[in-house]
């Protein structure tokens, strides 16, 4: 579950085409807290770097979506989207690509995101 959420965070960080070093460092430290080992972390970052457009990111997020959906728990669905939103707002605004990715994943997980301050 933790790895699924980490993947969604990384996707959100990379989808706008730039992921500042400080933001990556934050995500790494969060993954440390979530007990995801460094080799796995590096692998996830590398995979995200190889993605190009929104469709690629949505496709890359399918395995975490399935993992989260397996729990069949609206609370976990909401927490997963919350992590994406928090990563997106790291610079106090959610840009259109982040907004579209969050919207696509929220739709699949059936999470209401009307309250989000989207771009």
């Amino acid at each position: 579950m933790n790895e699924a959420i980490a993947k969604l965070m990384i996707a959100t960080s990379f989808v706008d085409g730039s992921s500042p070093a400080s933001e990556r460092e934050l995500i790494r430290r969060i993954m440390d807290v979530l007990q995801i080992d460094e080799k796995k972390q590096q692998g996830l970052f590398q995979e995200a770097e190889d993605l190009d457009d929104l469709e690629d990111f949505v496709e890359w997020c399918q395995s975490p979506i399935l993992k989260i959906a397996e729990k069949n728990d609206v609370g976990w669905n909401a927490i997963s989207i919350l992590f994406m939103a928090l990563v997106a707002m790291a610079d106090c605004k959610i840009v259109p690509s982040e907004s579209r990715l969050i919207g696509a994943i929220a739709k699949e997980l059936k999470v209401n995101i009307e309250s989000l301050v989207l771009a």
Partner: protein
């Protein structure tokens, strides 16, 4: 659980004694994803305005910590601490008071304390970036 996480997020937002209106508006929107209503958020935020001392603050967050501890679920505790880290970073500045609060919370919840003192933040990020670029160059050379 969601109320406990929401409370810890709000606590992280207010602990530096400064509430930026824009930051509060965005965090409010994010917390509402958890099912926290407008009124519940406003009530929690107004409770923080009554806090004058550290002891008041600790008493205010104690029920949230108790809720998480009673779950005996390190994954949920880790996620709660992670949301606090993201809230602390929301304004792009991580203050020592936020770091100490998050590390204390992690310790109380019995999970690994985040290692992110501001003194090691930038060097850590730079080191990883340089190492990653170096690895990429090395890999390209080997192909």
């Amino acid at each position: 659980m969601k109320n406990a996480i929401a409370k810890l997020m709000i606590a992280t937002m207010v602990i530096d004694g400064h509430i930026d209106e824009n930051e509060s508006r965005i965090i409010k929107g994010n917390i509402q994803i958890l099912g926290i209503t407008d009124n519940e958020y406003d009530e929690l935020l107004s409770e923080t305005k009554e806090i004058n001392e550290l002891d008041d603050f600790l008493a205010w967050i104690q029920p949230a910590l108790d809720t998480l501890k009673e779950l005996h679920n390190p994954d949920i505790s880790g996620l709660a601490v992670s949301t606090m880290m993201l809230v602390a970073y929301a304004d792009g500045k991580i203050r020592d008071v936020e770091v100490k609060f998050i590390q204390s919370t992690a310790s109380i919840l019995g999970i690994a304390s985040p290692t992110w003192g501001s003194e090691e933040w930038i060097p850590g990020a730079l080191e990883r970036t340089v190492r990653s670029k170096f690895d990429n160059i090395t890999n390209t050379d080997n192909e």
